[in-house]
């Protein structure tokens, strides 16, 4: 049996695509209001009306999962975007300018990388405040050093290449060289990193929401839905099962997609 990059790519894209559709759908439409309580239907088991049951306030779990997808995917997307854009800018500058700018930035990334990722996020959350924007800022800063390092590492050998010298001799400005010649060459490794980072951030966001440090109730995220399900696990097992299943499927999709991308870029990993 061959389990190659194409299988990974197919399953990964399917899973990620489903979650993206759910997140987009949740932004515009849910079968029921995800936040308004309906005490007549508390802890209703899954049936044809409430596909995934209802919670202790009678809110439809399926609607909350859709809405939670919008929140969780939105936060992860914002965070990755911030870390990628800021990290790429700083990495380009550090790798291309070298000198004291480079040393200063390496000192800064060393300081952040000396902490385990989740610990740094917790510490930054204590500073910026535990809420939706706090999470984006804290995780964005926590994951910025890995982007900076990657981009800098890619730029260092590139700046010595002939096409860069040629472009400079032609009279092009440094800015033009940086964005027109060097940046496009960083896109490959950046895509692989951004894919895995999306998974790390989604997991970190869910963990923080689970701890109660993320998006506050009543707005649903997959993490705080799981945290809220704990007192009702005996009567309503579905409350603890479906949000976790969504997180796992998303992460599985991203991991498979990441593996597939890595395989495409690494000539050795194709089956012998």
């Amino acid at each position: 049996m061959k389990f190659n990059a194409n299988t990974n790519l197919l399953v990964g894209s399917l899973l990620c695509g489903t979650i993206l559709v759910a997140a987009l759908l949740g932004a515009f439409w849910t079968p029921f209001d995800p936040m308004t309580p309906d005490f007549a239907h508390r802890l209703h088991a899954p049936d044809t009306t409430y596909w995934l049951g209802t919670d202790e306030f009678g809110r439809d779990t399926f609607s909350r999962i859709l809405y939670g997808a919008t929140t969780s995917v939105g936060i992860s997307f914002m965070t990755v975007l911030i870390a990628m854009v800021a990290g790429t800018m700083l990495g380009l500058i550090a790798g291309y300018m070298r000198g004291w700018v480079d040393r200063l930035m390496m000192c800064f990334t060393d300081a952040l990388l000396a902490f385990p990722g989740m610990l740094l996020a917790l510490g930054l959350l204590a500073v910026v405040g535990a809420n939706k924007y706090g999470i984006v800022v804290a995780l964005g800063i926590a994951y910025l050093p890995s982007v900076l390092r990657l981009v800098r590492g890619t730029v260092l050998p590139l700046r010595e290449r002939e096409f860069v010298h040629a472009s400079r001799i032609m009279g092009n400005s440094e800015m033009f060289i940086l964005f027109r010649h060097i940046l496009p060459n960083c896109f490959g490794p950046m895509m692989v990193l951004a894919t895995s980072m999306f998974g790390w951030v989604l997991l970190a966001e869910s963990s923080l929401s689970f701890l109660g440090l993320g998006v506050p109730p009543p707005a649903p995220t997959w993490g705080n839905m799981l945290a809220g399900s704990r007192p009702f696990m005996m009567q309503a097992g579905w409350l603890g099962i479906f949000p976790g299943l969504c997180i796992s499927m998303t992460l599985l999709g991203i991991n498979l997609l990441g593996d597939a991308l890595q395989d495409k870029l690494d000539p050795y990993s194709k089956g012998k």
Binding site: A126, S207, L213, M233, M234, M249, L252
Partner: protein
Amino acid sequence: MFRFICARVAMSIPTLLIVGVTVFMLIRLIPGDPAALMLGDMADPASLQELRQQLGLDRSLPQQLVIWFGNVLRGDLGVSISTGESVTSLVLQRFTISAPIVLCAVLFASLVAVPAGMIAAWRQNKLSDTVLVSTATLLLSVPTFWLGLLFLLFFGLHLGWLPVVGYVSPLEDWRGGLLYLIMPITTLFLHEIGVILRMARASTLDVLRLDYVTHARAKGLSDRVVLWRHTFKNAFGPTWTLIGLVLGNLLGGVAVVETVFTIPGLGRLLVDAIFARDYPVIQGCLLFIALIYVLVNLLVDLCYPIFDPRVTVS
């Protein structure tokens, strides 16, 4: 060898300094007056001033840094705002609860995942490889807090085999205490298998590609000898480094599992301190966990020559 050890220990000193300064600055970055944040809006100016003086906030930043570092070096991490206990003893006491859980989980996971990863690499693209890698990717994708909840639901509530809520120290009642530890350790163990197995497989694949492995096989050596005598030592290096990182990362993220199983560990202490805005405790936890992270990585690097003596030369 001696020079290698000295150089590596010396290298970790600047890292520790950076960690110290970062933790110190992080707490000072909080917008507004920390004293006002801690005491709330209703505090009178006299008690605000008293707290500022107690925290040393009335001095200049460099002065504060020097005093703080002096205290830290003497093992004094300050006093908790909410309980008045010494942060050092609080952190150490909670650490003795978290450390065994994390250590056992990583130890067991390594014992299973390293051989499994090597076998997967050896059987690349065969059925056993596919099964092992898919299992690892699946385990990696299940968040620990959900796996923990599922365990609670099934083994705790449904079958009633294991206690659901609470914690008993194994030192007081070893049999009861161990029962409470089974589910948290298993949860982390299963997750880390995924991480370590994939790394062990990847680094083994890198080594299997080398000419000396082909040569060993061409000589007619058996698969077992080539894999365990020739490949293992070279392939284990990167995995060994990863195990160190996993250990430190797990300690930083253990709060999640401690919350699921209501264990009063170090991670829970940090999260509760964030809720309570108990800044000395936050600072103490951050510093202590980062210190352990640096020390674990140092220890891992110092053991590295056992598998790969080449690193002592460079």
